[in-house]
């Protein structure tokens, strides 16, 4: 039996494996279903990776490669083109590799399967079903593989960081961008990105705007946009639509493994040490929530290694937990349970809101006890705000669920 199997060779899985080896675990296997390990950054051909976890500035592909090299140097057994397709009744992993099909057992399993953008059918956008409807992930790989005919004129749905990443990819591929539509009243990226894009590419940003229909066959010809304020609709000519963000954890193995999911994140519920609801099973990275930057995922993988090592050394009982739930407009908190007193990764919780909140007063309660209250700065949908972990010591481990709510008004 292997000591640890890490499922998923992206930043979280590789960082976890490296840290496990550093902690003296001898037998660490990373299973990655892609042709090469490295995860999503492999396709993000822009700068901005590695500063906070590797202390150097890298492009996505270089960052992914760096993690693969570090893992190999650390003695991690990375197996690419190796996919876990399910669970055997005895709890081992059913694995398909190029030349084999086998059941693998491990003392501990770390799920680091990442997240994906919801594609058009998952958003139930009506209309025809033409070519030219993409996600950012698909777009980046089409460009990377030098696919002909990416398109000539695109509409981007969403206005988060990744949406601007899609914009740069489109421009790089020679596709003009007609505009960017978001149902929210503002964009969710950094002001610099938006101002820059507006100046350089004369990009219209359509706020409070819904894409209500896609038309054209066999290729996209136009989309219908509806102004949520006035209800007015108009058609915009384009041959490409890129659906960005709206992440969902790739939680298939979590569900088929019987793990409890957090209703907010839709990833497995984890405590601050990243234990799932199943003994010996841990989860890390963007499987926990969609989506955080690569370094946050990597640091969460590194963080999970501590509890994995503890479990291997003692195989102590799996602790009882108290879940943390969010009240609207708060969307989710991650991690979302408390069991031992361990601090979370980076000593903080990530908190998300579905609406823009200016200086919300946040309250954390357990039953009628106030554990923490404080004011956050601006909350932006699709971006995490940090919540301190100082209140963990006050949690009654036998008490009811912890509730997080905002006193602020909707904006």
């Amino acid at each position: 039996m292997t000591d640890v199997i890490v499922v998923g060779g992206g930043p979280a899985g590789l960082a976890c494996a490296i840290e496990l080896r550093r902690r003296g675990i001898s037998d660490v296997v990373v299973l990655d279903r892609e042709e090469r390990a490295g995860g999503i950054p492999r396709h993000c051909a822009h700068q901005g990776f590695g500063v906070r976890d590797l202390r150097r500035a890298l492009t996505g592909p270089a960052y992914a490669q760096r993690y693969v090299e570090l893992a190999q140097r650390a003695g991690v057994d990375i197996r690419a083109e190796t996919m876990v397709t399910g669970w055997s009744p005895d709890g081992s992993l059913e694995v398909t590799a190029p030349e084999s099909r086998e059941s693998l057992r491990a003392s501990a399993i770390v799920l680091a399967t990442g997240c994906r953008e919801r594609p058009r059918p998952a958003r139930l956008v009506p209309g025809s079903r033409p070519e030219g409807v993409l996600t950012t992930g698909l777009l980046q790989q089409l460009v990377e593989l030098r696919s002909p005919r990416i398109g000539t004129r695109a509409v981007i749905v969403g206005a988060e960081h990744v949406s601007f990443s899609a914009l740069l990819t489109l421009v790089h591929a020679g596709v003009r961008v007609a505009g960017m539509a978001t149902h929210l009243p503002r964009h969710q990226s950094l002001p610099g990105a938006v101002v820059g894009a507006a100046l350089r590419y004369r990009l219209p940003l359509w706020t409070r705007t819904l894409l209500t229909e896609i038309r054209g066959l066999p290729r996209v010809e136009e989309v219908e946009l509806r102004d949520l304020g006035t209800g007015a609709t108009r058609a915009v000519t384009c041959d490409t639509v890129v659906f960005t963000a709206d992440w969902i954890p790739d939680h298939e193995l979590s569900v088929t493994g019987g793990l409890e999911l957090d209703p907010g994140t839709r990833g497995p519920q984890v405590d601050t040490a990243l234990r799932t609801t199943h003994a010996g099973l841990f989860a890390a990275g963007n499987l926990l929530q969609g989506a955080e930057p690569a370094h946050v995922a990597a640091l969460s993988g590194r963080h999970a290694a501590a509890a994995v090592a503890g479990w291997l050394n003692q195989c102590d009982r799996w602790p009882e937990r108290v879940p943390i739930v969010c009240r609207p407009p708060l969307l989710w908190i991650s991690p979302n349970a408390v069991s031992g007193g361990e601090p979370p990764s980076r000593d903080r919780f990530a908190l998300r809101s579905s609406a823009f909140l200016d200086g919300p007063d946040i309250e954390i309660r357990q039953h009628d006890r106030l554990l923490w209250t404080g004011r956050l700065r601006r909350m932006v949908p699709g971006r995490s705000s940090s919540l301190p972990a100082s209140w963990l010591v006050k949690v009654d481990p036998h008490g009811s669920a912890i509730e997080v709510q905002s006193a602020a008004q909707w904006h």
């Binding site: 059918p121 998952a122 009506p126 079903r129 209500t212």
Partner: protein, 435 residues
């Protein structure tokens, strides 16, 4: 339908050509239906449809086992949600009996919820139709066409008939978008366009008004919610919204029923999708917590008549297969058999081949083991499609010409990520494979 007829005829010593106006086999109405294997229990007794669906059910069940088409008789539960619907049961049972279905029986509420524990509240009982089933709508026409081609039938894709001319010595000259074809016998299986082709052939006994059916496919993680096909009590115009497992392991909700003007109007609508979402979560409340994987839209070839418009003009050597609505997949082999028999009676010489070629189709369903369960390079993660399967499809008797065709042959890109992970690689494989 055309593929089924071509398969049937190719088993005899004949020169046979299959013309497909679309880019590929099964790329029209066939690819977007409810993928059910109907018994015909609810057909109008005495009609051609009732007889042919029943016969087709028998033939397709046997054929599927022989060539490897995913098919399972999982049974249907026709659920009454109101006392009025329940009151319609005796009539439905009587009709089923008239159609030769002896297996239909009533199911009380308690048993219903035992067999479908996730069913929404408020059911007033059900009828159990154990022989209703699910079948792969992609493999079936491909198997027919492949068998036809292997038996010498010539397949011309992307070839539309634009004019029909009668030859003085008998037979027809068909003017197509790819030249002239002369034939002694001519079978019209043009689906939504069968009325137009029938008029080109000098007839015109019916008009097709496409009836749009929108369907939502839910994530595979929802599959454990359902054991049977859950049917609605039919109204005058439609069989209602059903919830069914698919052979691929998803859950399907649909169809809507709306008459549309255009025969290429396969657009989904906001209203239709909202309605299906509401109906789906009413019938199976836990569906609300699941992701939707796909939306598709089919056009049923509805006519002003209630029965199939299946006419053999024996003297001319012309057969028209029109007005085949949602039961076409189930009835296809029986319709082909019927057409072959009638053409034989009309003078088509039918000398059976001694050992016609048979086919074995790649299994793309979840009802039996898939190739990845033996090891392999999985390219499409959501649907577990291996590189070997993609290469086999690209090198098959009727290779795909586009991504949609590759999807129907292997299931690539059909899954929950819709190409987020593998879309670019699959497109590159198709490009390389079709160059």
């Amino acid at each position: 339908m055309g593929a089924a007829v071509a398969r049937e005829l190719s088993r005899f010593h004949l020169s046979c050509t299959l013309l497909e106006a679309g880019p590929d086999i099964g790329a029209g109405t066939s690819k977007a239906n409810t993928a059910l294997l109907h018994t015909g229990f609810d057909a109008k007794p005495g009609t051609l449809e009732a007889r042919l669906v029943r016969r087709g059910h028998e033939l397709l069940s046997a054929y599927a086992a022989q060539v490897g088409i995913p098919l399972a008789r999982i049974g249907a539960l026709l659920v009454a949600w109101t006392p009025e619907q329940r009151a319609a049961f005796p009539e439905i049972v009587e009709r089923a009996h008239a159609n030769g279905d002896a297996a239909i029986r009533g199911v009380e509420v308690e048993e219903l919820y035992r067999r479908e524990p996730h069913l929404g509240p408020g059911a007033h009982g059900a009828l159990d139709i154990p022989d209703e089933g699910i079948v792969c709508p992609f493999t079936t026409p491909l198997a027919y066409a492949t068998e036809a081609v292997l038996n010498g039938c010539e397949l011309r894709r992307g070839t539309r008939v634009v004019a029909v001319e009668r030859r003085s010595e008998g037979g027809f000259n068909l003017q197509t978008t790819a030249g002239l074809i002369s034939t002694r016998f001519f079978v019209n299986a043009a689906g939504l366009y069968s009325d137009e082709l029938d008029r080109l052939a000098g007839h015109g006994g019916f008009t097709i008004t496409p009836r749009r059916g929108e369907l939502i496919v839910y994530d595979k993680l929802a599959r454990p919610l359902l054991n049977h096909i859950v049917l609605a009590v039919p109204t005058g115009t439609t069989k209602g919204v059903l919830v069914a497992p698919t052979v691929f392991g998803n859950v399907l909700v649909g169809p809507t029923a709306q008459d549309v003007q255009r025969k290429d109007d396969t657009s989904s609508t906001a209203e239709g999708l909202a309605y299906l979402r509401a109906e789906g979560t009413r019938i199976l409340p836990h569906l609300s917590q699941h992701e939707t994987t796909a939306v598709y839209v089919g056009l049923r070839a509805a006519t002003e008549h209630t029965d199939y418009q299946l006419t053999i003009h024996a003297a001319e050597g012309y057969a028209c297969i029109g007005g085949i609505r949602s039961t076409g997949l189930s009835a296809s082999l029986a319709i082909a058999e019927h057409v072959r028999t009638e053409l034989g009676a009309a003078g088509l010489e039918l000398r059976p081949k001694e050992s016609p070629a048979t086919v074995r189709m790649p299994n793309i369903g979840e009802l039996s083991p898939r190739p990845y369960e033996q090891g392999g390079r999985i390219v499409c993660f959501c649907e577990r499609v291996t590189l070997a399967e993609i290469e086999a499809a690209l090198g098959s008797t009727i290779p795909p010409v586009d991504l949609d065709g590759l999807r129907r042959r292997t299931r690539v890109l059909m899954g929950r990520c819709q190409g987020f992970y593998c879309g670019a690689r699959v497109a590159a494989l198709l490009r390389e494979g079709t160059e």
